[in-house]
Amino acid sequence: MRNLIRSEFKKIFFLKSSRIYILTLIVLSLVLGLIFSLTTNVTQGKAITDLSSMDVLSANMLGVDLANIMLIIFTAISISKEFSTKLINVSLVITPNRKKFFLGKIITFFLLSTAISIIVVILAYLASQLILTVNDMPRVTLQDLAVRQFILGVMTMPIFYAIITVAAVFLFNSGAGAITFSLGVMALPALIKMFSNSIQRTLLPVFPQSAIHSLAGVVKKGSGESLGTIASMCLLLAWIIMTSLAANAKFQKQDI
């Protein structure tokens, strides 16, 4: 399995376009976070100095959303390209055990998204510290449980969506299908929030966004999204397991 994962990483990093994309993703997420935190007087109608330190950190962390979307696209395109170029023929001759091959992809993109997520979150955290220092505001500290929870919660988002995107490529046998699926799962809660409270309370808890928001501690108590830590983790795991099982079942039967 270790050799397979090393080979999968080579598939990604041998390509100059992938290296540039990942670097762009990191830079853009940082820039977007900075833009959000420096334009609060336009976006929130409040000067940055009127915000709490946590709000500044939150604004910077919005860049992670962009990183998440870009990572979904990257994951879907990277894997679907293996099918469209027929390189999958060669890959499966070397690793004919499709369960192992699928698991190798999941682990590779788990590791990649974890690394990217950590980098992006650290950069957003440092950027917010810089902005707080420049504006003579109290800096956020990792000793604060709420800050730690928020950062860890935000960090889970790109990792989770990268994994379900891997599964979705195999499930829909299409990069576009996988992107639509992952972005759909991300965006549907916003649509549900347009409906009545009872509908929200029924539907929102089944979407991963509720779990991620709950893990980050940004959900108001009593709202439709509110879940406990264990329930949140179970929900994310359930999504990963269900999509992976369906994808793997389809991949096993698929003629290449």
Binding site: N3, S7, K10, K11, L87, V90, L92, V93, R98, I256
Partner: protein, 311 residues
């Protein structure tokens, strides 16, 4: 050794491979022939697990391909020379495979040199000609020093030098004791390298025999005989069980008797023989004989022309 037992693949409205059973033996080059749509590529893909059989099984040294611990050391396959990411260089492509299989990078360099791509190893594959891609595919197939080598249309796009090189390579691999299964539309190439021939048509096994057996069984193989009295000699040969297909004043076309038998009959009857030649069909003629009427995709124009010729 590859053992195929009752292998069947049904697609929605078509049986691509129909109850196929055969053994790919070590130490010989086996030519895998069949008209378009005969099921050759489907069979090859089922051997390496890219296509799931509807029925039957393929065993490699007694195991399913998917269950092999280091499959690349058992089977090396070139199924499609285009099955590469054109953005990778030749070296990167082989390095990916070597890494996944735990093969040293030194072996990658060795293979690049062997297939003649060492000078262009750092070029993107997208810039390669079809022949260069085929060479890379062959390097991929041989990277793990496999016991069995499967090559699907390996001559496609190769130049004269490449064809000559591949002929030698396949024979050399067989001499090393490897099983070599080569599918090709180029009959002359298969005739030049294969000792054994497997023919598929409409998914069914039509022939699985050595080239010699196939030639001997063919109706196109005959003895061309010219004697001092062809009419008399014809009746003498027929008494001994010969089938005379064509006779004119100049020659007899004799089936079912070999040269020695014909010579003895002539001597015993004091008949002088002016000509005794064994006429052997080319593989292409044998192939046409075997697959006549069993091809799925035939040009209508050609069929009409053929009908016209017969009339």
């Amino acid at each position: 050794m590859i053992e195929i037992k009752n292998l069947t693949k049904k697609f929605r409205d078509k049986i691509a491979v129909d109850n196929l059973s055969l053994i790919v033996r070590p130490g010989v080059v086996t030519g895998f022939l069949g008209p378009n749509g005969a099921g050759k590529s489907t069979t090859l893909k089922m051997i390496i697990g890219l296509i799931n059989p509807t029925q039957g099984e393929v065993k490699i040294d007694g195991k399913n391909y998917k269950d092999l611990i280091r499959p690349i050391s058992k089977i090396g396959a070139l199924i499609d020379g285009d099955a590469v990411n054109p953005k990778f260089t030749a070296k990167q492509h082989l390095e990916l495979i070597a890494t996944a299989s735990g093969i040293s990078i030194g072996r990658v360099e060795e293979m690049l040199k062997m297939v003649g791509l060492d000078k262009v190893k750092n070029k993107q594959i997208g810039e390669f000609s079809l022949g260069m891609k085929q060479r890379l595919g062959i390097a991929t197939a041989l990277l793990g020093d496999p016991k069995t080598v499967i090559l699907d249309e390996p001559f496609n796009g190769l130049d004269v030098d490449g064809i000559h090189w591949l002929r030698g390579l396949t024979k050399e691999l067989a001499e090393q004791g490897k099983s070599v299964l080569v599918s090709s539309h180029l009959m002359s190439e298969i005739q030049a390298i294969a000792e054994r021939i497997v023919v598929l048509a409409q998914g069914k096994l039509i022939a699985d025999m050595t080239m010699e057996e196939m030639t001997n069984k063919s109706l196109s193989t005959y003895m061309k005989v010219n004697s001092e009295n062809n009419r008399k000699f014809k009746s003498l040969l027929e008494k001994e069980g010969a089938l005379i297909q064509s006779m004119n004043d100049e020659e007899l076309h004799v089936h079912k008797l070999d040269m020695k038998q014909i010579g003895i009959i002539a001597r015993n009857n004091n008949l002088a023989i002016y000509e005794l030649t064994k006429i052997q069909p080319s593989l292409e003629e044998l192939f046409i004989e075997l697959t006549e009427g069993k091809a799925d995709y035939v040009s209508n124009v050609e069929s009409k022309e053929r009908k016209g010729d017969r009339q």
